[in-house]
């Protein structure tokens, strides 16, 4: 669709191909008793990837496709709120425990999607995190870091 994206993507993939190709040159080539070492397969793939990205790059100049104009505005604000919340959730998961981290993530997430209805937000968030934890740890006997480790839980 977007030629600009394709152009950048082809460069990124080309770099990736080169990285894998160079990386595989540093792997010991043959191991004892095997004809083909662990380096051949990734090396070949890296080469193919470079060729394909050249083809893609070349194609972006040739294609007669008209650029599609998508004017619908993206909800960037709520996207970044949710993305940041997800990253924070992952960082905090093992530190403050599953229950608290999930609850907080969901509260931020719900409000980030759309403000208001605090009572429902709190109830759903509490119900969801508690429900998953109960089902997984009590019913299915799985392990999750339930409570903050520094509380001795």
């Amino acid at each position: 669709m977007s030629k600009t994206f394709d152009r950048y993507a082809s460069l990124v993939f080309m770099a990736l191909g080169v990285a894998f190709l160079v990386g595989s040159l540093q792997i010991a080539s043959a191991t004892y008793g095997a004809e083909v070492g662990p380096d051949i397969f990734p090396m070949a793939l890296g080469a193919v990837m470079i060729l394909l990205s050249i083809r893609l790059f070349y194609g972006t100049f040739r294609s007669s496709q008209t650029e599609e104009t998508e004017k619908s505005p993206l909800h960037l604000k709520r996207f970044f709120i949710l993305l940041a919340a997800s990253v924070l959730y992952v960082i905090c998961l093992e530190i403050i425990g599953y229950l608290l981290a999930t609850f907080l993530f969901l509260v931020i997430g719900f409000q980030g999607m759309q403000k208001g209805k605090w009572l429902t937000t709190l109830l759903v968030a509490a119900g969801f995190s508690g429900g998953i934890y109960y089902l997984f740890v009590e019913v299915m006997k799985g392990t999750l870091p339930g409570f903050p480790t520094w509380l001795g839980g």
């Binding site: 095997a34 397969f41 893609l56 619908s72 709520r78 949710l82 429902t120 998953i132």
Partner: protein, 508 residues
């Protein structure tokens, strides 16, 4: 016939109480997932792999594999059905295979016949499920017999054929599809090489020694990718849900749809068996065929029952048919079957020619459970149509954060590593960006799953031949596969060159 005997054994497995339960849960969750806005069959299956993995955690490996694949397959065809529910009620197809259903289904809904359209589509799905079951029983034996002649060279060429089929036939641009395949294969090489024990591309970072887990890639690309898309692009105001009306179809409607259902099922099954073609194509074919065969083609697009029945049957027929190359050859025909394949690999079960020999419990249990699952689909859907239409209304405000939380929970429960969670979010962003610009995602997952197997077979074949690469050309079966892969890549290119202008407009 030997197959029938195996099928009976399969029924014994599928009729164990826990497997009936799993089939039921699968179909139920699948229908909900298909109906929910923002998640389709692929992300539904990917999302629930970790959940099933924990549910079956305490069982012996073979049984656990059988039970979870039964559940996941249930989600697959449940979601296929659920996707058409939103097509009919809201004019918004749940996935690309349900697009055709909107043409006549939504028209029926506007005329107050939504309930009947849903019922017909349930009946069509059921019949197609049964027909594809028969096809599976007939086809699996000859295919697995053929497979007994396969050595590593043949496997290598066969998997190459699978990758070429998915990249050559799916997606708008073959370059992009191939690029995605190679990308997946490269991800698959990260980690400690299991032949030589040498670590590759790990940068001495311990979490990478195990390699990038298939599950993380699949949940990230499909589930989180779709979530990010919904967050960014979805407008809050959606269309109004149509009234359901009467559910029971009239005798005349049943009569009118009987033949389209039969034709659609067979057509869908055959298209589904071809690797790479998939359900979307099958539904389009079925719709066109019904319109051509009908005495009064003008009725189509104005709420013709046949226009719902044919494509819906083809849709489910294709999802049954796509199971065959996945199970017998290890080549998935669609994104969802690629994810199912990955799930089987997670349980150390190698889909492919020997599956029916080595793991008859899994293979035949799954096939038999598809019969039971389709029965549930019918029983569940006719009385519960009203309930499922309520699900369509779930506000995305609550849905989206919950899906993110489930993805993170699922991956963490299986991997127990924060590193995988960061990878998950990364793949989510990547999945959104790539899908938005028409890079197909199924080949990535396929590459990650098949990569290690391809490499192992290649090296085993070469060790056997003392490093002579000609071995892949000397074995007749292997040569045939290689020629077929080459044709799959070259023929579309040739066609493209012959009509360069048409193909730009034909992007459908």
């Amino acid at each position: 016939m030997e197959s029938l005997e195996y099928l009976m054994k399969g029924f014994q497995i599928a009729l164990q109480w826990q497997n009936i339960l799993f089939a039921f849960i699968g179909v139920f969750i699948g229908t909900c997932v298909g109906t929910l806005p923002g998640i389709g069959p692929i992300s539904g299956v990917a999302l629930l792999i970790p959940v099933t993995a924990t549910m079956t955690g305490g069982m012996p490996p073979e049984q656990a594999a059988a039970s979870s694949i039964i559940l996941l397959a249930g989600i697959y065809y449940g979601a296929m059905y659920g996707g058409s529910t939103t097509s009919i009620l809201l004019n918004t197809p749940g996935d690309s295979a349900a697009v055709v259903t909107t043409l006549d289904g939504y028209q029926m809904a506007k005329q107050g016949r939504a309930g009947q359209a849903l019922a017909i589509s349930a009946i069509a799905s059921f019949s197609a499920g049964i027909i594809s079951l028969i096809g599976m029983v007939l086809l699996s034996e000859p295919l697995s017999n053929l497979a007994l002649h396969f050595g590593p060279a043949e496997y290598f060429s066969l998997m190459l054929l699978g990758l070429c089929a998915v990249s050559g036939l799916a997606g708008k641009s073959m370059t992009k599809a191939l690029l995605m395949t190679v990308f997946g294969l490269l991800i698959g090489t990260i980690g400690v090489d299991n032949v030589s024990g040498i670590s590759r591309f790990t940068f001495d970072y311990p979490p990478l020694y195990q390699g990038v887990e298939f599950l993380t890639v699949a949940v990230g690309l499909f589930a989180l990718g779709e979530v990010f898309k919904t967050i960014l692009e979805r407008k809050d105001a959606e269309g109004k849900v149509a009234e359901v009306g009467t559910i029971l179809p009239t005798r005349q409607q049943l009569k009118q749809s009987a033949a389209p259902i039969g034709r659609g099922s067979v057509l869908g099954f055959l298209v589904g068996v071809l690797p790479g073609a998939g359900a979307t194509l099958a539904t389009f074919f079925a719709y066109i065929m019904e319109r051509k065969l009908h005495k009064d083609p003008d009725r189509f697009g104005k709420g013709a029952v046949e226009g719902v029945a044919g494509p819906e049957a083809a849709n489910n027929g294709a999802s049954g048919g796509a199971m065959i190359p996945m199970l017998t050859l290890g080549i998935p025909g669609s994104g969802t079957t690629a994810v199912l394949l990955g799930a089987l690999v997670m349980y150390n079960i190698q889909p492919g020619p020997l599956l029916f020999e080595e793991h008859p419990t899994v293979a035949w249990g799954l096939i038999a459970s598809m019969f039971i699952g389709n029965l549930f689909l019918l029983i569940l859907n006719l009385p519960l149509i009203r309930m499922f239409t309520k699900i369509v209304d779930t506000p995305i405000k609550y849905l989206i954060p919950c899906i993110i939380a489930i993805s993170i929970f699922g991956v963490y429960a299986v991997q127990v590593s924060t590193f995988d969670l960061f990878l998950l979010i990364g793949f989510g962003l990547l999945g959104y960006l790539l899908a938005r610009h028409d890079y197909p995602l199924a080949p990535v997952v396929l590459g990650v799953v098949l990569g290690p197997m391809i490499e192992n077979n290649m090296r085993r074949a070469l060790t056997g031949s003392n490093g002579d690469w000609l071995i892949f050309l000397q074995k007749p079966i292997s040569l045939t596969f290689l020629i077929a892969s080459l044709l799959l890549l070259v023929v579309p290119l040739l066609l493209q060159m012959r009509k360069p202008k048409q193909n730009a407009t034909e992007a459908m």
